[in-house]
Symmetry: C2
Subunit: 362 residues, 2 copies
């Protein structure tokens, strides 16, 4: 059983680490010859739209999945004609475009901030009148880690933002004065069976995820149920198979969907040590048609991203119950080089060790 994975970054690497014990083998396709997954599995170097690379990639695979959602739809179509591709290509297409994503959420009755497609200065003008300020202008595609978006505070911010983002294929979204950002991860198997991880609280800085707390502090059964209900609607609508992440804003006990990722997600890394079954293993179980594993949290966890630089491994590992994950990438400002998951049996000891760990991680 060889699982093909489009993208050989850290998510692919962690998929392989979770999948070898299941008896799976892997083949990756990535444009970079230095893709982190290449340390531990065969990794073809090639662009995602390179027909020849795709041909050699598919040979002998039992299933294809991806760890990166900006794979061209045509490439996914090419693969889907030849073998099972999970999550389904439709999910990828929806997630690639903020407008389709928000439109799907709204169609499914999932609350979203007000939004409007923007392709001209007139679109922006009328959308601003309807949505009001502050608002966020975003590219519909290829945004990640806070890239491809500008917050508009005053009317005169509109024109330069429109220009900076290319003038078209944009979306304007009402700015949500949220109390916190949370995410829900769910896995749906080929049989339709679905499991949900506990909601996670995510703290960003500079548009990049810094810390996830799992389960989210002060998580109520009502909030969990709300998030699960929304995720279930998306999973059903897309006949989804695999792990899906939905990022949400929490405001006054209500959740608004922000965006979704049709893949394993940074805010689910805590599950490696913090849950009975990791998101990586459950994603593979799902795409292989195997029963899904328990998503129960084992105590409390905090996941801290290592961005741009990495602390001394010895210093991190000296913190009780700290688990280090380095991705084998060369350092570069703003680059996700690894993460540390801190696990504890109770919130108080989590807090104590988190204080220690924060001293090591800027």
């Amino acid at each position: 059983m060889i699982v093909g994975v489009l993208g050989g970054g850290q998510l692919g690497r962690m998929l392989a680490l979770a999948g070898y014990p299941l008896g799976l083998r892997f083949r990756f396709l990535d444009p970079s010859p230095e893709a982190p997954a290449g340390h531990l599995a065969p990794c073809l170097t090639g662009n995602y739209d390179d027909q020849e690379a795709l041909e050699s990639f598919t040979s002998g695979l039992s299933v294809v999945t991806y760890e990166f959602e900006n794979v061209p739809a045509s490439s996914v179509g090419f693969l889907a004609e030849r073998l099972p591709v999970y999550p389904p290509p439709e999910a990828l297409e929806v997630a690639q475009d903020r407008l389709s994503e928000k439109t799907l959420f709204r169609k499914l009755g999932i609350p979203v901030p007000p939004f409007a497609p923007i392709d001209t200065p007139e679109d922006l003008q009328s959308a601003l009148e309807r949505i009001g300020l502050p608002a966020v202008l975003k590219t519909r595609r290829f945004g990640y880690d806070g890239k491809g978006q500008v917050v508009l505070h005053r009317p005169e911010d509109a024109a330069p933002a429109l220009h900076a983002l290319g003038g078209r294929n944009l979306i304007l979204e009402g700015f949500v004065a949220f109390e916190r950002e949370v995410s829900i991860l769910a896995a749906r198997g080929r049989s339709g069976a679905t499991v949900f991880y506990p909601l996670v609280e995510n703290q960003h800085a500079g548009g990049i995820l810094r810390i996830s707390l799992a389960p989210a502090p002060n998580l109520t059964p009502e909030l969990q149920a709300q998030a699960q209900d929304y995720a279930a609607r998306v999973l059903e609508a897309l006949d989804y198979v695999g792990v899906l992440a939905i990022e949400l804003f929490q405001r006054e006990g209500q959740l608004l969907a922000n965006e979704m990722a049709p893949r394993v997600h940074n805010s689910g890394h805590w599950t490696i040590e913090g849950a009975e079954t990791s998101q990586f293993e459950n994603h593979l179980r799902a795409v292989q048609g195997l029963p899904l594993g328990s998503t129960a949290a084992r105590g409390h966890a905090a996941m801290l991203n290592l961005i741009g630089t990495t602390p001394e491994p010895a210093a991190v590992l000296a913190v009780p119950n700290a688990h280090l994950h380095l991705y084998g990438k060369s350092p570069r400002p703003g680059r996700k080089l690894g993460h540390v998951t801190l696990r504890a049996d109770d919130p108080a000891s989590l807090e104590a060790h988190l204080t220690e760990l924060r001293r090591l991680i800027p």
Copy 2:
């Protein structure tokens, strides 16, 4: 940092799976071109006494360790002249020879069954007079999984057993009517810091480990302290670095040392899901000079070996909290092909799911 590992079996494979997240890379040396570690790391094919293979193996390594203890002492000597080798070669030498092992235990005040070296029929005759029957005649070297040993019940069993085992380089041991077999795993770092896992109860059949229960049922602090004390004496005496396993017989609340393994051990596989830090990670932390991780058990675990055949993965994964580990080996009678670890928060649910799992695993 490339860690060199002598032996590319399942233990090596699980070392690599634990080591990639620490930012380590691996190179294995194994006589078989189908060694399971070769799926996920470079694996040189060569005999352990092949000078040329050893030369290419060592190039660029930061440290060497082994997952297999029957590496020729001369090869380990060759490596130790060139780079750090952990556990220390002396530990390997002691563990390769049941007589040296028992002699060391006795020297350190660790209770052992009565034993005597056997190289002639006269040796055997006088040893039997002293030790009595039943007794076990074993080869001093290369015994594993119950191979290379014969139980003597009657005086007339002696001559054929002596003949069957080659007549010399043997050891006679008094037969211990033990209540159960347990093992202790300990890890000692380069700095001398030492951690101990909870004692594990091991159930064998046909000389092969079938099930480990961790922590051992009815484990008392006194028994744990006794085992830790014995392990600590061995670790200190050998200036040991890495994970050490000692198998012991329990009889009337007392422990007698049976044998030791200077490496990660089958009875420690439960630590992957059942302990805060796995034996594999702690072995790597030790040999790399990193701080050791917590050995605390997370609930209760049972580890079942998959021997000769493997059940359907889907059936295993349908059992709540069952974690499957396949080694990527081709089936062969008596061969360890994988294991399943069952984890539970309390002994009652462990027992319930274990009953389910036993139906799948002969």
